[in-house]
Amino acid sequence: MNLLAPIGRVFLTFLAQTGRLVLFMLSALLNCVRPPIYWQLIGQQMLRIGYFSLPVVGLTAFFTGGALALQIYVGGNRFGAESVVPNIVVLGITRELGPVIAGLMVAGRVAAAIAAEIGTMRVTEQIDALTTLSTNPMKYLVVPRLVAAVVTLPLLVLVADAIGVFGGYVISTSSLGFNGAVYIKNTMDFVTDGDVRSGVIKVAVFGFIIALMGCYNGFHSRGGAQGVGAATTNAVVTSSILILAANYFLTSILFSR
């Protein structure tokens, strides 16, 4: 019996946490559609979450595209199909690697920043102060971040797609002996709207996960500097895991399109 007790306790804690998260999410979604909406804060957050993530996402997309081209060349070479490099690069980037790389990089950058900022506001009573000043913290802090992440990540991933394909192009033309014009023509002929769309849909969901986990962990942090540190770590870890899990399920749903 003593062996079962800790297992049960962990399970109950897990259920309680999940319940709290779902309630938090519903409350956040409800506040998204009820006025007042702080447009200026949404704009600010779009700048912070989307625009300032461009360098990180751009760089990682470039190198990923390059590495992808090399790997596909090696693989294709084994059965004499080196020419598929542009096709597979654009497919891999738009459908899978663009959204996942952008999601994970933004999770590391933004979920951590959101959790640290809101967590510090929590432990210094700034969130309570908002309430006493007739301002709903959900609307003032959570809604702008959620909306900004869901809107800007798809834009970010379009840029990442282009840079990723460009990374593959640079490596293929410089060291794998591809002709530049042929490479671009093959890429453009092969890629479909559906490929790009499935990546955009996935990354919008990732954006929601990132902002939600950042806000949730920040809101529920306690106990000073250590608590904020734990909230930041949890935000990055949980959002990364949820992104990869959601990626699988979304891919299996969007697979046929």
Partner: protein, 254 residues
Amino acid sequence: MAKVELRGVRKRFGPKVVLDGIDLSIAPGESLVVIGGSGTGKSVMIKCVLGILRPDEGEIFVDGKDVTKLHGDAHDTVLRKFGMLFQGAALFDSLPVWENVAFGLIQGRGMARKQAKDIATEKLAKVGLGPEVAALWPSELSGGMQKRVGLARAIAADPEIIFFDEPTTGLDPIMADVINDLIVSTVKDLGVTTLSITHDMASARKISARIAMIHKGRIVWEGPTADIDNSGNPFVDQFIHGRAQGPIQMEIRS
């Protein structure tokens, strides 16, 4: 009718009982100070009145309305009667000083920024801060200055009731007395009802007309400030003289 009245308020966090049936009443225009050690439920009590926390049991009346049963807009209307000075000032560090002071006016009441800025400057002057402070950031200010800005923010929207959470904690004795004087003079100017919680006896004597002592989530004594030295209550005696021995034992866990 009492301005604020708590009846049998109970609040627990898990197995830990924080408020164990609080009964307290504050008359209009009265200055009440609640004293008590750390972790006796003082802050939780204030947060219950403000609706930041919801009590498990009991009723809290503000101007005769039970705020524990109010939601949404009706609750917001009651909340507008309150101003609050937080322990660490709780200034928004993403906003300059004047926007901190004007926050409740701009975000809470939709006032134009220009007009709100004028009011903020005027309130800052009330707490002894010149217009040059208005453009600074909270992180550039000392602890005492942050408390002053916090006070200006608490009075910005002309509240009827002001709560002070440990107004002098973390300040040197001189700055603490400056803040006490400011509290006394603003309260006199505005004619507001105040509820303060503190464990600083010098501050409690100065800013209160009546004192109540909280211990283990209950009010164990209340009376006029003048009577505090001969209360005949062992809890109060131990607390005001700061003795380690007595009926109050140190709590190890918060």
